[in-house]
């Protein structure tokens, strides 16, 4: 069972190595003559000014929080979705297994409508 995941682990390591190797090769093969102009941040021709890590729109935060809620929802849906056909085939579980998830989804939908009404999804 667990040894099935061994190739996955190896693949991730190979993927990381595949990222490191070209950078090392590029550093070794390509010329390397940095100067202060070349190393300054790109800014369409003029001298860079102010800190680049500036204030940004709060909506990005909001969006990240909303994303986490919905992504968790998907994580909770996964096991239910996987056994749904089994639930459908088991008489004693049918109604419970079906409606339980829809209570769960219903709460999410109420939250979603509220977020929409509050304007958290607007980008104008």
């Amino acid at each position: 069972m667990l040894e099935n995941y061994f190739p996955v682990l190896v693949f991730i390591l190979v993927g990381l190595a595949f990222g490191v190797a070209p950078i090392v090769m590029g550093r070794l093969i390509a010329p390397h003559r940095p100067d202060s102009e070349k190393l300054s941040p790109f800014e369409c021709g003029f001298e860079p000014f102010e800190d680049a890590r500036m204030k940004f729109d709060v909506r990005y935060y909001l969006l990240a929080i909303l994303f986490i809620i919905f992504d968790l929802e998907i994580a909770f849906l996964l096991p239910w979705a996987t056994i749904l056909r089994e639930i459908a085939g088991t008489e004693s579980l049918r109604l419970f297994g079906f409606f339980e998830m829809f209570v769960f989804l219903g709460i999410l939908v109420i939250g979603y409508i509220w977020v929409w009404k509050k304007g958290a999804l607007d980008w104008e």
């Binding site: 061994f6 190739p7 990222g19 010329p31 941040p41 729109d57 969006l63 992504d71 998907i74």
Partner: protein, 349 residues
């Protein structure tokens, strides 16, 4: 095959499983990299023809050596690490972009049984590893400490997570039907059904009962890979190249490879989840890898076609499409499919 490998296996002794796994990984990555290189060629060629010009035609016959020339050029370019950057993170960014886009291929089935890691949580692994891709972009943009990368990163992060939701709900629908997270099993389930028995396999694939999800998945796939018309993230005419502005040489090449490898990944996943993977569309033709290759190429062609056809979306339109259109549609379709499976009309028993 087994007997043939016996002497080599005994040569490596206990290390043999690892060596054999490595050999298989190379057998996946090498063709993938060739496919990636030639995808850039075909992209330029196809978009060229769509715009009534002929595209690259100087390097080699028909310009066929163009991707190789591009690769060599990038290799010979200086790897710059600008002075304002956070050095370690700056290098880590492209590595974190390419690693997940390759690692996801570990669970992709190419034909019946032709999969490196036949794990039961395959789809979950794909979801998890493709979510990691956003880190490469965020780290690259933040570490660059420059204005355009910063803006590009904010946009990219928000856009990628938004469309991940739509993709996630679309996958839930596929799961409900296949009742398994194993990608090979998802394909096999698509080979069953009334139409498959009649020899019209293509009508029993997931694309038909899940048609809205198929469309949502395809469009979200384009948005996830930050391709045109959803390329505000790196829109050349407004924020230069987004998170890639400060990168040069091989560090830039890694982002480029990751983007095209992701295009192939999304296409092959679309083929596996909705278009029956390696299954033959009609009963009298044999199943096999060639079908998966044809389907995947068709989906990739659609990516290129979309790029040549549509003007770039405005950012607020992209967010509205993701949050106010795709999310309700997918949620609703989860309900529809669940009721369908519960009802006596279910076609999946």
């Amino acid at each position: 095959m087994e007997a043939l490998l016996e002497p080599i296996a005994s040569l490596f002794g206990a290390a043999w499983p690892a060596v054999w796994t490595l050999a298989k990984i190379v057998a996946i990555i090498a063709p993938l990299m060739i496919a990636v290189a030639y995808l850039t060629y075909f992209e330029r060629k196809i978009i060229g023809y769509m715009q009534v010009r002929i595209g690259p035609n100087r390097v080699g016959p028909l310009g066929l050596l163009q991707p190789i020339a591009d690769g060599v050029k990038l290799l010979l370019k200086e790897v710059l690490v600008p002075s304002a950057t956070s050095k370690g993170l700056f290098i880590l960014g492209p590595i974190l972009a390419i690693a997940p886009s390759l690692a996801a291929w570990a669970v992709v089935p190419f034909w019946d049984g032709g999969v490196l890691a036949d794990v039961d949580a395959g789809l979950l692994f794909i979801l998890a590893i493709t979510s990691l891709e956003v880190y490469g972009v965020i780290i690259a943009g933040w570490a660059s400490n420059s204005k355009y990368p910063f803006l590009g990163t904010m946009r990219a992060a928000a856009q990628m997570v938004s469309y991940e939701l739509a993709m996630g709900f679309a996958l839930i629908c596929v799961l409900m039907i296949s009742a398994s997270l194993n990608l090979s099993e998802i394909v096999r389930v698509q080979g069953q059904g009334q139409f498959a028995d009649m020899g019209l396999g293509f009508l029993s694939w997931n694309w038909l009962p899940l048609f809205p999800m198929f469309v949502v998945y395809l469009i979200s796939g384009i948005a996830e890979t930050n391709r045109a018309p959803f390329d505000v993230v790196e829109g050349e005419s407004e924020i230069v190249a987004g998170h890639m502005v400060e990168y040069s040489g091989m560090t830039f090449a890694l982002f480029f490879l990751a983007e095209y490898a992701n295009m192939w990944l999304v296409s092959i996943l679309t083929s596996i989840l909705f278009l029956g993977g390696w299954l033959s569309p009609v009963g009298f033709l044999p199943d096999g890898f060639h079908w998966l290759a044809i389907k995947t190429s068709m989906v990739v062609l659609m990516f290129l076609w979309a790029r040549a056809t549509f003007p770039r979306f405005r950012y607020d339109h992209i967010m509205r499409l993701g949050w106010k259109v795709f999310l309700p549609v997918t949620l609703f379709w989860v309900l529809v499919v669940a009721v369908w499976i519960m009802s006596p009309l279910s076609i999946w028993n």
